[in-house]
Symmetry: C2
Subunit: 226 residues, 2 copies
């Protein structure tokens, strides 16, 4: 593979790092807590964001969402219907979000709502277990969602993203009886890859475990804004 | 996004096209039918390959597998245990397979088993709905697998790969009652994106629909080798 290595990655990544630092300063100024939501396609990023938004809103927080998709705006529409300010980014084929896209989206949120009115931004990344991990978006927390139907071996096969996560959510636990998901194997792999990050078992659509996850999240938000 | 466009993609892709053509000629010489298996992580690529292998073997065909993974060799081990010659490619973080990797894997299969003894090769691509679609691997057929738990909106959100597919499989139909999968919406989107490619509803682990898919596949293999 060495022959195809042209060093384009280093300048892109270092430019992205500068943008991420700029975003981080900007988020700190307005006291906005930012969560980069990562998973495969179809693991439940949008439904987890919607269910989390409900609980944070009940706690008095205003949440917005930045939706990253290859195409379509179905997720942004769903978030808008739930009353969240929503910015759609269509990556036009790119398999991850980058800092420059987030900067544009934040400009749009600032113009539309005012960043000082937004307590929390969920960034819903492109569904991909590989590429998004290399791109810091200035977030406070990267939240990785695996869903039960994907199988317990995913952390073994895509270790980078599980290792990188600040929190590991296991979603769709309500359908666990229909699948051969070995929770002990999943736990053992994460104990090895990323023992520090807390884990929550949830069903975003049924509500299971959402209170525990959200009360932990509220603590993180309070601590970051203290 | 224009500012980050450095034209590295064109030379890499055109080099890949040359490699793909070379691979295609090589597969034609030995009468080996090659299937590029595409899906998200956890949609059931490996279990579909194993269940398909069983039926093709019963029809007198010898199948091998090339496993593409970011890390680990759990899928290659599972295929080996099922008696298939298996070559593991670890992409070391790269989110898709490229022609040069397949060439090395085919060299290894040729050295180990002899390509003239292999009727069918399954290439299990990295679980990713975005990047693999740009890289022709010289295959006869690209088989896209969506699984019911991922949701009916995936073809809307990741249209490229569903459009590119030579066949669209819907896997894990046995668990459909536990999920809100709108089959009419899925069908309508595919009717629009890719009306030509046949579709099969399967459960690779339970066996549902596997005979229909495999008898169609056997016809394709016969036609290609005629």
């Amino acid at each position: 593979m060495a022959e195809k290595t042209v060093d384009i990655a280093t300048p892109i990544l270092s430019r992205n790092e500068r943008l991420a630092d700029e975003l981080r300063r900007r988020f700190a100024e307005t006291g906005t807590y930012v969560i980069n939501v990562l998973s495969s396609p179809g693991s439940g990023k949008t439904s987890t964001i919607l269910a989390t938004n409900e609980r944070l809103r009940a706690a008095g927080l205003t949440c917005a969402v930045i939706e990253g998709d290859i195409a379509s705006d179905v997720d942004a529409q769903a978030c808008k219907e739930a009353g969240m300010p929503s910015i759609q980014i269509n990556t036009g084929g790119l398999c991850h979000l980058e800092g420059n896209m987030i900067r544009e989206a934040v400009d749009a949120l600032d113009a539309g709502v005012g960043m000082d009115k937004i307590d929390v931004i969920f960034i819903e990344n492109v569904g991909n277990l590989v590429c998004p991990v290399d791109f810091d978006l200035g977030e406070n927390l990267s939240a990785m969602i695996l869903s039960v139907p994907e199988g317990d071996d995913k952390p073994v096969k895509y270790p980078g993203i599980f290792q990188h996560a600040g929190v590991n959510l296991l979603n769709k636990v309500d359908v666990a009886p229909a699948f051969d998901f070995d929770l002990d194997a999943y736990t053992a792999t994460l104990d090895n890859l990323n023992p520090e990050a807390p884990r929550f078992q949830v069903s975003a659509t049924k509500g299971t475990g959402m209170d525990a996850w959200c009360s932990w999240l509220l603590e993180q938000i309070s601590a970051a804004r203290a």
